[in-house]
Amino acid sequence: MSMRLPKQVGEWIKRDKEIHFTFEGQEYKGYEGDTITSALLAAGVKVLGRSFKYHRPRGVLSLANHDINALVTDGMDTNIRADVVTLSNGMQLKAVNTDGGVIKDKSKYIDSISPLLPVGFYYKAFHKPASLFPFWEKVIRKAAGLGIVNFNYPRINKRKLNAFCDVLVIGAGPSGLSAAISAAENGLEVILVDENQQLGGSLTYDYAGEEAAQKVLSDLVKRVSASSNIKVYAGAYAAGYYQDHMVPVVAADGITKVRAKAVIAATGAFEQPPVFHNNDLPGVMLGSAAQRMMHRYGVKPFKTGLVFTANAHGYRVALDLLKAGVNVSAIVDLRAEGQQDTQAIELANKGVKIHTGYCVYEALPFKGKLGVAGALICPYDEATATADVKQAVKLDCDGIAMSAGWAPAGALLYQSGMGVVYNNDIQQFVPNRLPKGVFAAGRVNGAFALEARVSDGLRAAAEVANLLGKSVKAQSVMPHQGTSPSHPYPFVHHPKGKNFVDFDEDIQIKDFINAAKEGFDNIELMKRFTTVGMGPSQGKHSNMNAIRILAKIRNLPVEKIGSTTARPFFHPTPMGHLGGRSFHAHRLTTIHAWHQAAGAAFVDVGAWSRPAYYQKAGLSKVEIVQQESLAVRKAVGMIDSSTLGKVEVCGPDAAEFLERFYTGVYRDQKVGRSRYVMLLDELGVMVDDGIATRIGQEKFFVTISTANAPAVYREMQRWLQVWKLNATLINVTSAYGVINVAGPKAYQVLSKLVTIDLSEDALPMGRSTEAEISGVPVRIVRAAFVAKEAYEVYMPSGYALNIWKLLLEAGKNEGICPFGTDTQRLLRLELGHPLPGVDTDGLTNPFEMRAEKALEMDKAFFIGKRSLEIIAKKPLNKALVPFVLPADYKGELPQDCNLVIESGAIKGRVTSVAFSPSAGRVIGLAYVAMHQAQLGNIFEIRTDNGKIAKATVVHAPFFNAE
């Protein structure tokens, strides 16, 4: 039967736009602007879900995303918050966490065995005997969790934007709206955020039977939309507060990261459920929820109901219910003195029976706990918090509205570093210390009366304006008048329990008492043991009540209990939103497109993508690499080495800089000569190596290995500052392309393109020269990294692709063969060159690499020298040696990182190993114990499958070893 009311003033639904959907297989209709829940309620559906632990039927509690009673799935998405997700046509919805439907849920039996499952029971069960735990674990895991994840859900990349403002106002209730307007009038740029689709906060539902609130609201909203200084984000929540006033604002279409100069949290308060037996039955709801139903969605909460209250708000709710035609059978007020205001009088005049000093002892379920059949009420003694059951009376009703108090929505303020005190006039924590630029206004700040909330907003706005350099008159707020909006202990104990504090986790009063008995009697331990507030609604409806209970248990003032830290997020936030468009920055050389066309298999090196080798149909990677390497040994090959780090060191102190930075000598280096450079860290660990070419009296050109380039260049910059040398560093990594032409025929090929003499005599190893290729200035360096006859050609990177093509053309007859990094690895291994990061690790020192020749220990200083002097005094315990396997070796090929084993003990490891077609055998580099390191010694490598390969220590280079 329909519960839809006639058109309400200010309702959010468009009655001319019908929307059709199904829930649990049944067809329903709602209106545009309905949430899933409001449409179901309008259709008379009360049971919206099943609880997490006991599978109890659940209906509306807050209708404001302060609980997760109504979680549904549409088959595609899961854990959809039905209370706040707006309805759309064709939705096919089911409740999550049921076994056979929300009404027939087969797991409902758990509720009846709940006495077996007290708080923390799972710590005390299932582990004995240990052998059975895996079985129990399966059972438990099956019971855990809420919705089922859909593995076919599409990847969503939501945009993440940045926005800036003077002041961010969070919450568009009376205080937030007033603050925003006032700030804007003071010339400040304002962003106003509210999680609801429409502005107004409580002004959109808390009417007390009148329309005054409506008028206030429409006036405020008019002024907001009239202001050019206010940008409004409605239907968007502030997910958290982060350092320096950064607040991510989450909307359906993505996140806006707002960076503000000041933040005003006008976030209001969450209504808290009073706790009594069966307070979770469908039909038992918060007063504010009932008001939202009526005024936002034009839905009647129930036909005959009573209001269980302990504050003035309950009376306002009752008036709204009457206005909506609900038969209010009684107001049950926990407080002996009740309420003496106009609303109370009006209700009395309207003939509503008011029981002061009474409680709802229990809500009476009808069959299957699917709804409320009535309520048992009885006198209640606030001092002892006991109910006089003997005098219990039964009232018939199909619903109960609860208004007993509020908890400040202070999460973001806590995250910003707020300090709080407990205000006894309003029985609420309020800020007493806020960081610079953070302000609170409205109910979160303890202001409850409408006028107080408005003036508190103006007060905050004035303080912001003054902070940001305006000078405006300070505003005062009058302190709270009348009864407390919150009751200090709205709990009705009951032998049968089922008086719920945390609806997410099915936690009852006795769970807290028992947890305390077991020693979990401070709020953090209690939270962890009972899991209160750890569910998806993050304690919005439960943390404050938990604190009140613990205070009572320990007989301490609430203030002494303190509260748990409120961590982000305010509402659970989708990973697709948070991740956004995940960027994957990568670097490509100018020649990349050619490599792709040529079928290169790419490998990531640092941020770069480099050809590992060039695929050929029908050939394995290993075969290709061997072919490419043979081409270099027998004819000529070329590789795009543009990714090398390149730095020019200029100035009078250029050589001095290199002498301090690297381990070698550069002072006496002649222009046009190249020298090896090795970099250590201050511990004497080998970090990187490369080549330094002197290209002018005061100018060196230094190469850094690809992956280390950014870090090494940073270190160069830092040390230059520290040493205060007269030198300038220029990072030319991307400015120059590098093509390494290598092999016996490299000379022939290159000579076709340059006019100068490249012969061994004219340009021996370690020399460099300037030249031209088709009018393009290039530098040619003789370096022997992959082959003795090799030329590194440097050119402005814009020309690299076309010069690469020229070389290919020029080398046609010589059979020039492009090769990749895998082949380069083999080639340099054949020459016995260790690679930093491959043949070294995070602890390797030059002695272990047997690279003493690269160290000039007589220099006054180089980075790491002092540590090397200390290390040199210790016995060396391993060394890097070149090794070969017998030419006739037939066993499993050893792999990099296989271990060197001697009489069952680890003595070292292989760092590089491969079959060298040029050497005709398996060659490699390995760390071995010193006593194994001498030439000709045989040591044992354990291969993947555990077999032993006997390796012999040799001299490098390998391919002409003998």
């Binding site: 006495p115 982060y242 993050q538 961590r567 936030t573 990973m575």
Partner: protein, 413 residues
């Protein structure tokens, strides 16, 4: 239904005893004082009493027990380290964990899931083989596996990681497990308390009294306590305690963050770690995805959360599991990790007689809880370091004898 539960059904009054006494006033002196009521400190207290009969012990906790990194980590237990010493140490820990629920008579939900360290590059694969070979050598079940085996264990994962960093293989570590972290602290607390150890919460150490290089006692917010032996097991607070005794260490504090999703029905059975994507993820017994990432990029002695962390983590998670786009993160938090230069702990004796250090746990402390407790108890009781922790001694830095765990650090991660 497990019989242990029946007792709650029968007999109305709830008769569960306290896990541990509510100690308020310390005695004048104790045989040993343990600073830090986290897993490590409580475990050390437990084994001091159980293995060595030393029960006149006070545990001093500034906040509440298990409230530090014990309650903030992502609860992964494994032993697939790089050096034989490291592997042996953590393997001993795994073996203790396996029997711990029974020993402490509390269900730790110790759940053996298997642990994949994903490799997205050849250099990462090299490190995986290195670790696998060392693990095999000392008898720990780790091996290099290909993408087919990963796909079998986690068919839902996009092995190409949305095409951004294709997975090439992994190190599979069979013993990899997760556990209910709080319960570990509570279980040790109960065990230690039942043997006479006194646990003081909300008790802050304000100074440590030393005469001629020998510990005399500690000044606390509950008064002076005299003792000859002090164990510092305070993770992120180590520098503050060491400053009290003027002890230099290489430790630096970086926040380490984690977050948890809303609960969903179980689907992720294994533990996944990706070094290059800086992601580790498992699904808890509650059905939440528990996710962590790499350390915060700079020194900071606090536990505040950053948005950068959760942005980076989720973008990588969604690369691995595109279908999680609309699954929600409920909560994020942070701990203070005490990082050492060689990614191994600092354990044992110090130049100050009677001052023992259990620190440098960085991102790997929870998994070592039982064995650190056991070996530190042994070290205190015998005043000489347990064999398992010899290579973790503080003096290794001055001696230029850093542990090889650093080796892997610079090798393709």
């Amino acid at each position: 239904m497990a019989y242990q539960l029946l007792k709650y059904a029968l007999g109305g009054e709830y008769k569960e005893p306290r896990f541990f006494r509510d100690c308020q006033t310390p005695k004048k002196s104790y045989d040993a004082v343990i600073i830090g009521g986290g897993g490590h400190g409580l475990a050390a207290a437990y084994y001091l009493a159980k293995d060595h009969g030393i029960t006149n012990v006070a545990v001093l906790e500034k906040g509440y027990i298990g409230g530090g990194n014990t309650g903030r980590n992502t609860t992964i237990v494994r032993s697939n380290y790089l050096t034989p010493d490291g592997v042996n140490f953590y393997d001993a820990s795994v073996k203790l964990f396996e029997g711990l629920s029974t020993e402490l008579d509390i269900n730790l939900f110790y759940s053996n899931r298997g642990h994949f360290t994903l490799a997205h590059s050849e250099s990462a694969m090299r490190t995986m083989r290195w670790r696998a070979e060392v693990n095999k050598h000392v008898g720990v079940k780790s091996r290099v596996v290909g993408t087919d085996e990963i796909a079998k264990a986690c068919p839902q994962m996009d092995l190409s990681c949305s095409g951004k960093s294709p997975i090439q293989g992994a190190l599979y570590h069979e013993p990899g497990s997760i556990a209910r972290h709080d319960a570990v602290a509570w279980g040790y607390a109960r065990g230690a308390d039942s043997m006479g150890v006194e646990i003081f919460q909300n008790t802050e150490v304000q100074g440590i009294d030393i005469k001629d290089g020998q510990v005399q006692g500690v000044q606390t917010s509950r008064g002076y306590i005299s003792t000859g032996k002090v164990l510092s097991a305070v993770a992120g607070f180590t520098p503050r305690i060491c400053k009290m005794v003027d002890l230099k260490t290489p430790i630096v504090i970086h926040p380490l963050q984690a977050c948890v999703s809303e609960p969903m029905k179980p689907w992720l059975d294994t533990i996944l770690v990706s070094g290059s994507l800086h992601v580790y993820v498992s699904q808890s017994s509650r059905g939440e995805l528990v996710m962590g990432s790499s350390l915060d990029p700079y020194e900071f002695h606090s536990t505040r959360s950053t948005f950068d962390f959760v942005e980076g983590l989720t973008s990588h998670i969604v690369d691995m599991f595109p279908f999680l786009s609309n699954v929600k993160i409920v909560r994020q938090w942070a701990g203070m990790a005490d990082i050492t230069p060689d990614f191994a702990p600092i354990m044992g004796m110090t130049p100050i007689k009677g001052f023992y250090l259990d620190a440098g746990w960085g991102t790997w402390g929870f998994k070592a809880t039982p064995i650190s407790g056991k070996t530190m108890a042994h070290t205190l009781a015998n005043d000489k370091p347990h064999d398992l922790i010899h290579s973790f001694r503080l003096s290794r830095f001055e001696e230029y004898e850093l542990t090889g765990e650093k080796g892997a650090a610079s090798v393709g991660h």
